[in-house]
Each structure stands twice: as structure tokens, then as C-alpha cells.
């Protein structure tokens, strides 16, 4: 019997230990994709988060911020599981989550079951998250995938004279949103998108995809990310692919541009669009790059922060600055804090960011071109800066809503 009671004692102390809650701390839960295809993206996101903490500090008034990290693998289920663990076990009051598109949709829906808490999107960029049935306690300080493509279609049509393109993208909401933004603008300018191929997230063998790429197009648009993008580039080069390339926001990004091997060299000259450009001269951006570089030794970071690092930096910044505005006051179901978050305008490294009535960012977008810095490192160089990009991409909201939600076949290739 004695061994049973020892076991019981151990069991009960196990539960009690989790009940102890520190007094003067504000707990914030953070999720990142530290597993699976998007591991590299998640890791760099966390670097951006850490950089923000280095720059801004962890103090809010007399309270200290405590951050608790949980890992996901870019699937919605893992995100909901991680968020639930943070809320229910770690008792966090504010969430900085999640990273990837479909995770965002699931976490937004989950946020509605906890209206008393505040959810700040870390980096996910599916349009549906804030456009369809938004949650009142879910705030997004990064633009969505379509906003991140603004400028690319026109630039490709007018400057590069591309007339027909084909797309290859990962088969999920974020990439649909990216292709949505591209197709609207490119087809609106008069171009044609002849073929859209979709591959499951985590695809390793692209042989059939590469074989099916059409020959009679001026460029191929790649909406891939993380390990998928590197695998594609390797196999594309081995297959002798020579087409002009265009890239999505996580394709032309330091997560790919600083990958090992020379497959990435196929990307030199590729045009892309994103919420940031590596070589932008803006002093705020340069300061952020410096802070990022100083925070980590060169072998533990990218030469320049990726889009994910920037997004995590921006959302952490909004989280802390708004919290300071209300002096850490989270009473009354965080009402004051939510109000401050909705109103705050942050001077982010990648341009000013404010929120619209759906709590979705209005920000600055960049058209870029990949250049080699002469020492073998690749960077995205600014071609064009477009300020004040909103979620309806400048369309009248009524017209925009008729286009439909991003999917494999929406939008049609025509002028809306």
C-alpha cells in the first residue's frame, strides 16, 4: 500500500505545482512552427521575436512580461492544440500566434471561444482569417498574402513584358491568397495565367510537377516555402529548367535565399513582392537589420532577417507598445488593451502599420528583384515601394467581395 500512497502524493504535487501563479507577471503565449516543413521559418520568426524583446525590453510599468513558447507544424490541429495548452495549462493572458495560413484560420475561430483573451497574429497571412467573420479579439499587424503581392503583377506585365505565366503553389490558404493577389493584378493589366498547379504542403518529389510545367509561358510563378521551395529548386535545376521565375513572399525570402547549395542561384533575377525588401535604405529598416544581426552569431541566423522575423518583430512590437499605453491594465476582460491595440499605429521597420475595422493591417509593400551581393549571398533588392496597401487591394469593397474567396480557381483571370 505504501507505494500506492507515494504515487498518489507524487501525482497530487504534480497538479498543485501548476496551480501556482506568479503575481506581478503578464503571461504571453507564443507559437511558432518549430517542426515540419516550415521549421526554418518558425525558428527565424522566434529570432525576430527575440530581437523585439532586446530592443523594447520586457518591462511594462512595474510588471514583467513572461513568454511561453509552444511548437506547431503548420497544420491547423497542431496550432489549436498548442494554443489550448498555452491558455489552459500555462494560463497565458495574451497570445502571439500563429505563423502559417491555415493555422491562422483555426486560431481565429478558436479565439471566439475565449473572448476575454487577446490574440495577436504572429505571421499568418491567409485572407479569410480577418476578412470572413473576423474575431473581435484577434488582431493582425501583418498584411495578408494578397496584399504582399501588390505591385508584382503590374511590374511583371509592364516592365518585364511577361504576357503569359503559369503558377506552382502549395495547396493551402496562404498560397491561394498570394496567387489571388497576383492573378487579380496581372490579369487586370492584360496578362494571362494559363496553368495553376497545386502541390500538397510537404511535397518532396516535384518530378511530375516539373514535367507538367508548360513551355509556352514567359515566366513561372513559385508560391512555395521552406523545405518545399528548396526541394523544388534542386529538382528544377537538375531537370535543366531555364524559365524566368517569379516568386511569392516566402519563396523570395532569406529562408530560401540563404539555404545551402547552389540550387538557389536559379533565383538570381527573379522578381517577387513581399512585405519587406532586404536592401531597403530606410533608416528604420537598417536599424532593425543591425539589431537582428547583433542579437545572434552569424552561423545562428540569416544574413538578413526573413519576412517571418520581421512579422514576429512587428507583432511583438504592437503587443508591447499597446500594453505600455494602458500601463499593463488587463482588467475588465482586457477591454482597454483591446481598444489600444485596435487604434495603435506602429512605426515598424518595414513601414508604418495601422489596422482597419476588421483589425487587419494596412501597410507598405515592396516589389523586389533577387541580386547576388558578389560574395555568393543573395538578397532581395527594392524595385518599387507601395505604401498604404489595404486588404481589398484598393478595390471597392463591394466589387472585391464579388471576386470570391481565394481558392484553387478563384479569382478567374479577368479584369474585375
Amino acid at each position: 500500500m505504501s507505494k500506492c500512497s507515494v504515487g498518489l502524493l507524487a501525482l497530487s504535487s504534480f497538479f498543485l505545482s501548476t496551480a501556482a501563479i506568479a503575481q506581478e507577471k503578464i503571461k504571453v503565449g507564443v507559437t511558432a512552427t518549430l517542426e515540419g516543413t516550415y521549421t526554418v521559418l518558425g525558428e527565424d520568426g522566434m529570432r525576430g521575436h527575440q530581437t523585439a524583446l532586446n530592443v523594447l525590453g520586457k518591462k511594462v510599468g512595474d510588471k514583467e512580461l513572461e513568454f511561453i513558447v509552444a511548437s506547431t507544424d503548420a497544420t491547423p490541429d497542431s496550432a489549436v492544440r498548442a494554443v489550448r495548452k498555452l491558455i489552459e495549462q500555462d494560463k497565458v493572458q495574451i497570445l502571439l500566434s500563429p505563423l502559417s495560413g491555415d493555422e491562422g484560420i483555426a486560431v481565429k475561430n478558436f479565439a471566439k471561444t475565449h473572448p476575454e483573451l487577446t490574440f495577436i497574429n504572429a505571421a499568418s497571412g491567409a485572407q479569410e482569417t480577418t476578412y470572413v467573420d473576423p474575431a473581435p479579439n484577434f488582431f493582425r499587424y501583418n498584411m495578408d498574402g494578397a496584399q504582399w503581392q501588390v505591385g508584382l503583377g503590374k511590374y511583371a506585365f509592364e516592365e518585364k513584358k511577361y504576357r503569359k505565366i503559369a503558377t506552382v503553389g502549395e495547396d493551402y490558404s496562404f498560397i491561394y491568397t498570394q496567387v489571388f493577389g497576383l492573378v487579380l493584378e496581372f490579369c487586370g493589366a492584360g496578362g494571362q495565367v494559363t496553368n495553376r498547379q497545386w502541390v500538397p504542403l510537404g511535397t518532396k518529389d516535384f518530378a511530375s510537377v516539373i514535367a507538367a510545367l508548360p513551355d509556352d509561358v514567359d515566366a513561372i510563378y513559385l508560391g512555395l516555402g521552406g523545405a518545399d521551395a528548396v526541394n523544388f529548386l534542386n529538382q528544377y535545376q537538375q531537370a535543366g529548367g531555364k524559365a524566368h521565375l517569379m516568386g511569392g513572399s516566402i519563396m523570395i525570402d532569406q529562408t530560401i535565399l540563404s539555404s545551402k547549395g547552389n540550387a538557389k542561384n536559379a533565383l538570381v533575377g527573379t522578381i517577387a513582392a513581399s512585405g519587406q525588401a532586404d536592401t531597403w535604405e530606410d533608416p528604420g529598416w537598417q536599424k532593425f537589420v543591425k539589431a537582428y544581426q547583433d542579437a545572434f552569431p552569424p552561423n545562428k541566423r540569416f544574413p538578413s532577417p526573413s519576412l517571418l522575423a520581421t512579422n514576429y518583430y512587428d507583432s511583438t512590437m504592437a503587443l508591447i507598445l499597446a500594453l505600455r499605453q494602458v500601463n499593463g491594465d488587463l482588467s475588465n476582460n482586457q477591454a482597454k488593451y483591446k481598444e489600444a491595440l485596435a487604434k495603435i499605429e506602429i512605426d515598424a521597420p518595414n513601414g508604418k502599420i495601422k489596422l482597419d475595422s476588421n483589425r487587419q493591417a494596412i501597410g507598405t509593400n515592396f516589389v523586389t528583384e533577387v541580386v547576388d551581393d558578389g560574395k555568393g549571398a543573395l538578397f532581395s533588392k527594392v524595385v518599387k515601394v507601395i505604401p498604404n496597401v489595404n486588404q481589398t487591394l484598393g478595390y471597392d469593397p463591394a466589387v472585391f467581395s464579388k471576386i470570391g474567396l481565394p481558392s484553387r480557381t478563384v479569382p478567374e483571370c479577368k479584369k474585375y
Binding site: F15, V69, P76, E88, D102, A106, K112, D171, P200
Partner: protein, 360 residues
């Protein structure tokens, strides 16, 4: 009738050697009573997180692994599609019931959607089983894994029914008799009741004529066929029963997370169920539940644990893998085997005065 009679005559002697009485073995086992009491008063000791994320999740995964344990332990058929059946049932609850994706969900009330989901998932599992029983050993594993992988990729790319990679969100959970059955405490008891039901059903079946015949089929299919048993029919029936058990777990799972997406039915998750069953031990129905508890604890706390030790949290998968490796290395029949050996090694010293054969 004569079939059942034969089965008892043929197989009972071996069974009697293992289990002394025809009653439920739990009745004489104080440990079982203690576990039952702890499980019943769990809401008093555990907070919402432990109650649902640890114990309810353990029970749900345990039920899935139990269906595998039934097939593998009594039928000798290692099926990797048990999670797929559970996932199918979960998807069907979302498709027939009410969810945030109004263009997909048919909006039936739960008491129609759930029986429909259970029936379809059982039919799905039985069909899969009918395919799989034509094979043995590693080929069964392969064919069931192929079904699981095919289902995963299908859900990932089918947008008309399964809503692709996004999956189906905000699935409605039952409210009736003025109770929100997804609130922590009621939901825990629902899960506990279903788990107990499945556990005792498996245990009952293992000693019923059908279960004994199934074990006979496992041990010597030729002899059983010679005795007049329809070997394949027994196996398909076992698949049907196991599918029903897995389908129940699927319904609970979708109510638990209120969403279902392809990540829940991935090949990795299929293999997790096998890991759970193997780690727990597939010789007894309690094994899968123990395995599930270990699995859930490791999955939930490995990251925190590493960070607390000051190590790189990114390597938490390694810790999980090492944990499983250690268990399988020291005990090829799982935690159950460790427990039994430990008790046997203690018995001569500790229990000699009392006679010590009370609960075997």
C-alpha cells in the same frame, strides 16, 4: 450454436490457465478499483487543462489504440488504419453536423449526424478490413498503411467534402438537457464513459466465444479452418468491431478540438497510434491507455522540460523518440510487460506469507 460451443471447448483450457475465474478480473484487483476511483473523482483533482488536454485526450487516443490492440492482440492483425477510421468518423460528424463551413456541412442535429458517422466509419473500416484480411503480417501493415496514406492525401486535396488542408472548423458540439456537453467536466465524463464501455466491451469479447475463436484464428488459422470456422469472416467481424470502437474515438476527438483537418489523419499520426499500442503493450486492453498517457505527457511536456533544463527546446522530438526507444528496448511487450515482470520479481519476497495468488 455449435460453432460457439466448439470454440469454448477448443480454446478454454489455455485461457483458464491464464485467468483463474470467469468473472471480470478487475473485481478482485485493488489497483483497478483505485484507478477507477481516481478516474471518477478526477475533476476534483485536475484543472481544466489536465482534465481535457491530458486525461480526456489520453482516453480518446487510448480508445483508438484499444481498437488496434483488439485487432493485433487477439486477432494478430496489425492495422495502421485505425486512426484513419477515427478521422473518417470525425470528418463525417463535421460534414453531416453543424460547423463553421456552412457550404459543406449539412447541418443535421448531432443525434442524427453521430450515428450516421459511426455507421459510415464502421462500414469504411469493415471494407478496409475485408481487403486487408486477404493478407498477413507485414502485408497487412502495408495495405492498411496505404489506406491511411491515401485517405490523408485525399482529404488534403479534396475541397468539396473535406475542405482541403484547411479542414473543417468550428464544429458544433452537443447541448441537451440544459448541459453543454463540451464543457470540461461533462465532456470528461462522456469520454470516460465511452472509454470504459469500449474497455469492458473488448475485455468481454476477448472471453466470449467470438473472441476465443478469434484468438484461435490468430494462433492457428489452419486448424481453426479445419474445425469448421470461417477464418476470414471472423477476421472481418473483428475489423468491424474495432472500426466501431475507433469511430467512437473519432467522434470524441472532433468534439474535443471542434475542428478536423488532414493533419489529424496524417501518416505520422497513424503511426503514433501504433506507437501508443506498442509502448503500452498489446497483450491486455489496459495497455493502450497506459501507452496513450505516456505519449500525451511526452508530447505535451517534452518542450517545456528541455527548456527548463536549459537545453535547446527545438530538439524535443528527440526526447520523445528516446523515451519510446527506452521503453521498447527494455520491454518488448511494453509497459504492461515491465509491470508484470516487476511484480513477479517481487512476489516471492513480499507476498509469501499471504499466499499471494489472489490476483493474477
Amino acid at each position: 450454436m455449435s460453432l460457439a460451443h466448439d470454440a469454448r471447448v477448443a480454446v478454454r483450457p489455455a485461457d483458464v490457465a491464464q485467468r483463474p475465474a470467469r468473472t471480470w478480473p478487475e473485481i478482485n484487483n485493488p489497483a483497478a478499483w483505485i484507478v477507477a476511483v481516481i478516474l471518477l473523482i478526477m475533476p476534483l483533482i485536475a484543472s481544466g487543462f489536465f482534465l481535457i488536454e491530458i486525461f480526456a485526450t489520453t482516453l480518446i487516443l487510448g480508445i483508438m489504440a484499444l481498437s488496434l490492440m483488439f485487432l493485433a492482440g487477439y486477432g494478430g492483425m496489425v492495422s495502421l488504419m485505425q486512426l484513419t477510421i477515427a478521422g473518417f468518423s470525425a470528418y463525417m460528424v463535421a460534414v453531416f453536423g453543424v460547423s463553421g463551413n456552412a457550404n459543406i456541412s449539412l447541418g443535421w442535429p448531432w443525434w442524427l449526424a453521430v450515428p450516421m458517422a459511426l455507421a459510415l466509419a464502421t462500414a469504411f473500416g469493415t471494407l478496409g478490413g475485408a481487403l486487408a484480411v486477404r493478407t498477413e503480417g507485414i502485408y497487412t501493415i502495408m495495405i492498411t498503411l496505404a489506406i491511411g496514406a491515401a485517405f490523408y492525401y485525399f482529404t488534403n486535396q479534396n475541397w468539396a467534402i473535406f475542405n482541403g488542408h484547411t479542414g473543417i472548423n468550428t464544429v458544433a458540439t452537443p447541448h441537451f438537457w440544459g448541459v453543454n456537453w463540451r464543457a470540461d467536466i461533462p465532456f470528461y465524463y462522456v469520454v470516460l464513459a465511452v472509454a470504459a464501455l469500449c474497455y469492458f466491451a473488448v475485455e468481454y469479447l476477448s472471453r466470449a466465444p467470438f473472441g476465443l475463436a478469434l484468438q484461435g484464428v490468430r494462433d492457428n488459422p489452419r486448424r481453426m479452418a479445419a474445425l469448421g470456422f470461417n477464418v476470414n469472416a471472423h477476421r472481418v467481424a473483428a475489423y468491424a468491431f474495432a472500426s466501431f470502437v475507433a469511430a467512437l474515438a473519432g467522434v470524441l476527438q472532433v468534439w474535443n478540438y471542434r475542428q478536423i483537418s488532414p493533419g489529424s489523419v496524417s501518416v505520422g499520426a497513424c503511426i503514433d497510434v501504433l506507437i501508443i499500442a506498442v509502448v503500452g503493450g498489446i497483450t491486455r486492453p489496459i495497455g493502450p491507455f497506459i501507452g496513450a498517457l505516456i505519449f500525451v505527457l511526452l508530447r505535451t511536456f517534452a518542450l517545456d522540460f528541455l527548456v527548463r533544463l536549459g537545453l535547446d527546446g527545438n530538439r524535443f522530438r528527440l526526447l520523445i523518440g528516446l523515451g519510446f526507444l527506452a521503453i521498447v528496448f527494455w520491454s518488448s511487450d511494453g509497459v504492461i510487460g515491465l509491470w508484470q515482470r516487476w511484480r513477479q520479481s517481487r512476489r516471492p519476497a513480499a507476498n509469501r506469507p499471504g499466499g499471494g495468488r489472489g490476483h493474477g
